[in-house]
């Protein structure tokens, strides 16, 4: 019995309602949807960091289209109707639910003051769309069949390892397994080469995954959880069998999948995966601190760092939860809310500052306040205008701080920025952090 029950047993008798952090049942998030207060903390940059009139918004969807229905607060309200099956799925409603990169800005923004599960609610809305037979969008279905058929999200038939040249020397067996991901295997192959070059320069052995296939990011993100679960099971099993201690990705989206969404799909804790999940920037930063990685070649550029959502606010470890909600909305057992504290904010900056010649300028929207480029999670494929809009806004911000180059730790951001810059004739350069580190790293191998 709680203290309050003891004090006034006759007065406070709120019945307890069971719930779980399970996105496969939207009802789990009814309390959260009912308690959204329209404070728009999910939309604005944290007010403490508010830079003024410009660059003040961190929700790309609602910046793109300004009706409240595009913001998390709008979707939370619509979600209540969906949960009760009181609103019809239409193309427009599908746009509201899917024109959204699930960037997590709303989730950390909301949890600045409250304890609502906004990010999970948005995921649950996608699952609900699929359960109702309305989602995902046709283009997402095409990508899903491509992945299931070819093992990659481009439907590419060519060899996944075609990017490897003679300089790439993975070990047969190593503690670290480098999971390259679709984008770096087919589109942004320079990132894969750069990651391996830096690893070799630091003398850190790594192996590659045998028969690597897509991590399933888009499949999961559009709400196809059953299909995504199969991929998760298969991939996790492969790493366990390999004996690797660390699964390393060079892609922010893969990182979140492995670290957060696989455990979520498998209903286990991240720490129970049987191996650690790290992004390349964590490994590189450790190597730098230990003196293994030497950044010696000057790169004379003024750059800015774009915190990709999935190496920042979206990557707190996962912990399954089942409990009850009662008195004044309190839950039992205690729930440790994921607030984005585990973001790799400092790792990236430490690495960049260590490069000789680099002049790192921060954009007003940085770290957990970063504006997502909307290039990931199946958003760009379905809503290219949204992805271009967000990338353009961010490139403008980079120019505003005088940066010559935008650097991120995600190949999907890299593609979106460079494609948009090219389309606009924009001069700002775009690089992945691995590419920059590869330029600066000591050549030769240890």
């Amino acid at each position: 019995m709680s203290v309050i029950d003891k004090k006034h047993p006759e007065r406070y008798d709120t019945p307890k309602e069971p719930f779980a952090l399970d996105i496969e049942n939207l009802s789990n998030f009814v309390y959260d949807m009912q308690h959204c207060i329209k404070c728009k903390g999910c939309y604005w940059v944290d007010h403490t960091y508010m830079p003024g009139m410009k660059h003040s918004v961190r929700c790309p969807s609602n910046l793109w289209k300004e009706f409240d229905s595009y913001g998390a607060f709008g979707k939370m309200r619509i979600g209540l109707k969906l949960e009760k099956n009181e609103i019809e799925w239409t193309d427009h409603l599908l746009e509201l639910i899917y024109a959204d990169p699930l960037c997590g800005a709303c989730d950390v923004g909301c949890k600045r003051n409250l304890d609502l599960e906004v990010g999970l609610t948005l995921e649950a809305l996608r699952v609900k769309a699929v359960q109702d037979g309305a989602g995902p969008l046709p283009v997402h279905k095409d990508i899903t069949s491509d992945i299931l058929e070819t093992g990659n999200c481009y439907g590419a038939k060519k060899d996944r390892r075609a990017w490897m040249d003679a300089s790439v020397k993975p070990a047969e067996k190593a503690d670290i397994m480098y999971f390259v991901g679709c984008s770096s295997s087919y589109e942004n192959t320079g990132i894969a080469s750069a990651v391996t070059k830096v690893m070799q320069s630091a003398g850190i052995p790594y192996m590659l995954m045998e028969d690597e296939t897509c991590c399933g990011n888009i499949i999961f993100s559009v709400g196809l959880v059953d299909e995504a679960r199969k991929i998760a099971e298969k991939n996790v099993e492969k790493v366990r069998k390999s004996g690797a201690k660390v699964l390393m990705t060079g892609c922010a989206e893969c990182y979140r999948m492995w670290k957060v969404d696989y455990p979520k799909l498998l209903n286990i804790r991240t720490e129970d995966l049987g191996f650690e999940v790290k992004h390349f920037i964590e490994v590189a930063e450790e190597a730098l601190t230990e003196g293994k990685l030497k950044l010696v070649n000057p790169v004379n550029q003024r750059i800015t760092y774009h915190d990709a959502c999935n190496v920042s606010r979206n990557c707190d470890p996962w912990e399954p939860y089942e409990g009850e909600r009662g008195w004044m909305g309190t839950v039992e057992p205690r729930l440790a809310r994921r607030r984005g504290r585990h973001g790799l904010y400092e790792q990236a900056r430490t690495l960049l500052r260590a490069i000789p010649g680099i002049d790192l300028a921060e954009m007003p929207r940085m770290k957990e306040n970063s504006l997502c480029c909307a290039g990931g999670r199946g958003t760009k494929q379905a809503f290219p205008e949204l992805a271009e809009f967000a990338a353009r806004d961010r490139l403008e911000e980079a120019r505003y701080v005088g940066a010559e180059t935008v650097v991120s730790a995600c190949p999907w951001c890299r593609s979106n920025f460079s494609e948009t810059a090219e389309k606009d004739g924009e001069k700002t350069g775009v690089l992945d952090i691995a590419e920059l580190l590869a330029m600066a790293a000591e050549t030769g191998e240890k």
Partner: protein, 545 residues
């Protein structure tokens, strides 16, 4: 749903198809509640409706055209700046149009004359940063850094920073308003050129009508531009620090400093407010509810209740803390002087300085009122009392005793006395009483308490701020006017004879009391047999039933 088809098409021709919608999902996205200010209350459930359509104008001319079209087709509309003010900023009629002002975000700062000019889409934290950069600051209403400065100043406008200029209407300078008939009225010196520096004139000064003490909640026109007084600050721009949720504004302790003092008694807190005001030092003096301290320490509901349930009525009634903000407006020496005067006052009263963080988490730039919902999920401020300092101060025990009768459903707060502060350098007292509950419970008691508190204020001769548009007008009007209700209704008749601007305000709470059966037992004031609505509104209400 939607609104009149012809009106919709005409408005679409004004703003373009991307800025108007009647899609059911979009309109649902604008729903008032079920969470938020006053949400889950009877008022929200009984009085609010889903919008028929939403439009986002860009210019004053757009607003004017939209309002005229609404007038032509009899479409009710409600101005909506950020929509944080709960049910009161949402439609109360079927087929009503929300005029969402967020695209109107022009901002200008006149550094030399210390004022800014903004449209309603501009929010306080944006303004504060721009002001900091020019050595100025504004009073961010305690309702939040995320609220529209225009909407806040039309209705409220208080925070501990009101210590220097406490009457919000004094911070409103020139103003541009689209009246309910679509005429544009330029107030203050804006009427004579483009310089908004004077609120009083040359030109009409209708601030008393537009906002009075706490405004008419958007039922007498739409403000499209407002010049707002800024106050001189000190030169250091406070720097943000930390990662969410532990973010704060770092202050230079030589120029800006919050200091907490423990005091020996409630009387000594009252005296401290008065003496600091008399000494004309500082930037804020306040005593906040004790449970806010627990909110500040808690990260989630469970943390809060763990902390709060350790308190008892005795521990709360014996906790005396006053919080003072010092600002070195002109120099470090001035700040030092103020500090010594402050210490003398506190010493004389038997108080003690406590260690206080050299940062600001909640008043300067991030008035994070969202934290109000952490404890129970539902919240409303029942009243703001603006009165002489001593009169305002007296309200604490009155509210505490009344609230006890309604607990539960209201949160057990160990008989906390509420929030008070000094405004206008001690010439004005501000008292706010806040209540919290779980909206999943039976909340009829909360609805009754709200109205009972107005009756209590009348009985005690206290001047509350939540008058007409917030409470039953036929209850508060005769008491405070005595013809206040007739005056407000007369204005409504003259400026909005069709009652299309946010109907049925200013009679919405009267209407609620009539419609909600559980309110009948607390109704003991006179109302006319029929409210003086125009025939068309009566007909629409009949149709909605």
């Amino acid at each position: 749903m939607s609104i009149n088809k012809h009106a919709y098409q005409a408005i679409e021709a004004v703003v373009g198809r991307n800025y108007i919608t009647d899609d059911p999902a979009d309109c649902e996205g604008y729903r008032s509640g079920p969470g938020g200010y006053e949400s889950g209350t009877g008022y929200e459930r009984v009085m609010t409706k889903i919008a028929g359509a939403v439009v986002m104008p860009r210019t004053t001319e757009d607003v004017q055209k939209i309002v005229k079209i609404c007038g032509r087709f009899g479409v009710p509309f409600v101005p909506y700046s950020t929509g944080f003010y709960g049910p009161r900023s949402h439609p109360h009629m079927e087929h009503e149009l929300i005029i969402d002002m967020k695209r109107m975000r022009d901002f200008e700062i006149d550094e030399k004359h210390f004022f800014i000019t903004v449209q309603p889409g501009v929010i306080y934290s944006q303004i504060q940063q721009e002001c900091f950069e020019k050595g100025a600051y504004v009073v961010i209403g305690g309702g939040g850094a995320q609220t529209s400065a225009v909407a806040n100043l039309l209705n409220d406008g208080w925070s501990p920073l009101s210590f220097r200029v406490g009457l919000p209407q004094r911070r409103i300078l020139g103003m541009e308003v689209v009246m309910p008939d679509g005429e544009i009225v330029k107030m203050g010196s804006l009427a004579d050129g483009d310089d908004p520096f004077w609120g009083e004139g040359i030109g009409p000064d209708l601030r008393g009508i537009m906002r009075g003490y706490t405004g008419l909640l958007g039922c007498l026109g739409i403000c499209t531009r407002m010049a707002i007084k800024t106050l001189p600050f000190q030169p250091e721009i406070p720097k943000p620090s930390g990662i969410s949720p532990e973010t704060a504004l770092q202050l230079d302790p030589k120029r800006v400093r919050w200091i907490n003092f423990t005091m020996p008694s409630l009387e000594s807190i009252e005296q401290a407010h008065i003496m600091i005001g008399n000494a004309e030092i500082g930037g804020a003096v306040t005593k906040v509810p004790v449970f806010w301290r627990a909110i500040a320490k808690a990260e989630c509901k469970e943390d809060f209740w763990d902390l709060w349930l350790k308190e008892t009525e005795e521990s709360v009634s014996n906790f005396f803390l006053v919080r003072v903000l010092l600002i070195g407006y002109t120099s470090e020496e001035q700040m030092d002087y103020d500090y010594h005067v402050l210490c003398d006052i506190i010493e004389e009263l038997g108080g003690k300085e406590r260690r206080t963080k050299p940062s600001d988490e909640s008043w300067f730039k991030n008035a994070d009122s969202a934290g109000m919902w952490l404890m129970t999920g539902s919240y409303v401020s029942v009243d703001y009392v603006m009165d002489t300092f001593t009169q305002a101060f007296k309200q604490g025990p009155n509210y505490r005793d009344l609230k006890a009768k309604y607990t539960p459903p209201l949160m057990p707060d160990c008989k906390d006395l509420g929030w008070f502060q000094s405004c206008e350098m001690g010439h004005l007292g501000y008292y706010e009483y806040l209540i919290y509950w779980d909206q999943r419970e039976d909340t009829n008691g909360m609805d009754q308490f709200y109205v009972e508190s107005a009756k209590m204020n009348i009985e005690n001769g206290c001047y509350p701020a939540l008058l007409g548009a917030h409470q039953p007008l036929y209850l508060t009007g005769p008491a405070y006017g005595p013809g206040y209700h007739e005056w407000i209704l007369g204005l409504k008749e003259v400026f909005d004879p069709q009652w299309i601007c946010h109907p049925p305000l200013p009679l919405a709470h009267d209407e609620f009391v009539e419609r909600a059966e559980w309110m009948h037992e607390v109704k003991n004031w006179e109302t006319p047999e029929e409210f003086p609505y125009p025939e068309k509104l009566k007909e629409n209400m009949r149709l909605e039933k």
